[in-house]
């Protein structure tokens, strides 16, 4: 190794060091600390009773119906919102791709739900469905208290999620659509392929990598859902999600040991989901670095 490359490497490490240190200090170290805390009985209201208990906290969480209920709720919200977002996002992307008028207006309008604070979006939808201040009941001729019942509460939560995050999906898919060569579609049309055939035989396969990346990011994001549920139901009517269980155990009840076990389990779930996508659907994330 000559002097120049050594200097270059030193500079590279110097430039990367602050970011790497921050990521280590604020994510890796706390995660390891959570792992450590999860092995103790440690309640901040009774700090003197701190005691090593091995895997007891995990046993308590995994035998608690609250955790399984929350996990089922989280998965329901994730699957429902991400799949509907993909459908709706595709429609929006096609509209933006094909329309000749007001393309920029549509794109700008779609960035509003993306940019708006999630808490504000959740409040807007909560008030809209509220029996006293809302307009939805009047519009539909109903008299339901939507957020007071489990089934309808999920409808409101999922609608809010879809409204807020479909734009992200649509913009990614639009970028993917522009990668599909127009000549290929025109040739297929000349050869007599119908619109649906062109979509399913040409557009969709070519967009597979973009769709997979969009799905991966949205799934992991949806699985972490906290803001919307907190604002709309606070987990009442058995609508709690895993993030809400973790927050309530850690911050509301100050039970660091038990809450850390929940945190570690959530981390493992996310890891599992990511691995499923990357291995199962063959998303090649490393390819993106070489471009």
């Amino acid at each position: 190794m000559n002097g120049r490359t050594a200097a270059e490497q030193r500079l590279a490490w110097l430039l990367c060091a602050p970011a790497v240190l921050a990521m280590l200090a604020v994510t890796v170290y706390p995660m390891l600390y959570a792992l450590w805390l999860s092995l103790f009985r440690y309640d901040l209201r009774f700090p003197d009773q701190r005691q090593f208990t091995g895997l007891d906290n995990y046993l308590s969480v995994l035998t608690s119906p609250v955790w399984w209920q929350a996990l089922a709720n989280t998965l329901l919200i994730t699957v429902a919102s991400v799949s509907l977002e993909l459908l709706l996002g595709f429609c929006f992307a096609l509209v933006m791709h094909r329309t000749l008028v007001g393309r920029r207006t549509v794109r700008t309008a779609l960035l509003v739900p993306y940019g708006i604070i999630t808490v504000v979006a959740a409040l807007s939808w909560r008030f809209a469905f509220d029996p006293t201040t809302g307009f939805v009941n009047g519009l539909l001729g109903l008299e339901g208290a939507w957020l007071a019942e489990r089934g309808t509460a999920f409808v409101v939560i999922i609608l809010t999620e879809i409204w807020k995050t479909t734009p992200f999906m649509a913009l990614l898919l639009l970028a993917g659509l522009t990668l599909v060569p127009g000549d290929l579609l025109r040739a297929a049309r000349v050869d007599g392929a119908g619109a649906l055939q062109r979509f399913f035989r040409i557009t969709l396969p070519l967009m597979r990598p973009v769709i997979m990346v969009a799905l991966l990011f949205r799934t992991l994001d949806a699985f972490r859902i906290f803001d919307t549920v907190f604002v709309q139901t606070r987990g009442a009517q058995d609508t709690g999600t895993v993030s809400l269980v973790s927050y309530n155990t850690l911050i509301t009840r100050l039970n660091l040991g038990l809450g850390s076990a929940v945190s570690v389990l959530i981390f493992l779930c996310v890891l599992l989901l990511a691995a499923l996508y990357i291995k199962g659907f063959g998303i090649d994330l490393s390819r993106r670095e070489e471009s």
């Binding site: 490497q9 990367c16 994510t27 000749l100 809209a128 973790s246 911050i251 070489e290």
Partner: protein, 280 residues
């Protein structure tokens, strides 16, 4: 880019109608909360979408509440400083990753990607405990640190994508002329990279402005509580009057900057959001 193929009038009308539908979809919940915030107190429960007469009473009430002004200041300050820090560190890292040869380049990008997938809720407990020990609980720094860290991956990826497009021969030329790599970075690259840096900054700012979880877990008073958390606490604070309209007014106030940013910079935001996902 090739546009739609055969443009029969029917087809054109169909896509135009689609555009209108998308715009309505995107804006009606925003219009609804604006409408709610303008409804005079007595007509709050009238069940209409549009207000019957408009009043600014709820806005006056919100700004009369010192907790809201404090939260607004906290949100602005914390988001601005977190953005500055994330973009600065991200810029250093992206430059090294794109321009310099060193072992561990790939590792840094992969590590950043893993952190982008990391669930923040998993570390609020440890951070809560650490911040109390370190005296960072309920301070600006206590929120700036996690915001900066969680947005570093986005900053690094976006900036790397933009940095790859820069004509680097100019950098080489500067170095041939005797500039050190650091001088070349500051005087040649920074001005060229400004658009990408700006894009990354917008995205980071929007994240920090939006965060609710860290703000709820790591603050307890007006010292550092940001707007999303403050709005959530509005709910329980006044037991004798319906706070719905005040919450709506506060929501509109914090949504205005977002809409301005979106209107001014929509092209950059879209470029930044899609730069990482579509390349390859």
């Amino acid at each position: 880019m090739p546009r739609a193929t055969g443009n029969r009038p029917g087809e054109r009308l169909f896509w135009a109608a689609g555009s209108v539908a998308v715009v309505i979809y995107a804006l009606f919940p925003v219009l609804w909360i604006v409408s709610l915030s303008l409804k005079p107190g007595a007509t709050l429960g009238d069940g209409r979408f549009f207000p019957h007469g408009a009043s600014l009473e709820h806005y006056l009430a919100v700004f009369a509440d010192p907790r809201f002004s404090a939260a607004l200041g906290n949100s602005l300050g914390i988001a601005a400083l977190a953005t500055l820090a994330a973009v600065l560190l991200g810029m250093f890292t992206a430059y090294a990753v794109v321009r310099l040869e060193f072992p561990g380049r790939r590792l840094i990008l992969v590590a950043a990607l893993s952190i982008a997938m990391f669930p923040p809720v998993s570390i609020i407990g440890p951070l809560f405990n650490m911040w109390r020990t370190l005296g960072l609980y309920d301070t600006w720094a206590g929120l700036i640190l996690p915001y900066m860290t969680f947005m570093l991956p986005l900053a690094i990826w976006t900036l790397s994508a933009f940095f790859r497009e820069i004509p680097w021969e100019l950098d080489k030329a500067a170095r041939v002329d005797g500039a050190t790599p650091l001088q070349a970075f500051v005087h040649v690259i920074v001005p060229l990279a400004a658009p990408g840096v700006f894009t990354a900054a917008i995205l980071v700012f929007m994240f920090a402005w939006n965060d609710f979880l860290f703000a709820m877990a790591l603050t307890s008073t007006s010292e550092a509580r940001t707007v999303p958390a403050a709005i959530a606490f509005f709910t329980g604070s006044s037991r004798f009057e319906q706070p719905t309209a005040s919450i709506a007014a506060a929501s509109v106030v914090v949504t205005v900057p977002v809409i301005l940013v979106v209107l001014l910079f929509q092209r950059r935001i879209v470029a930044g959001l899609t730069s990482g996902a579509v390349k390859g």
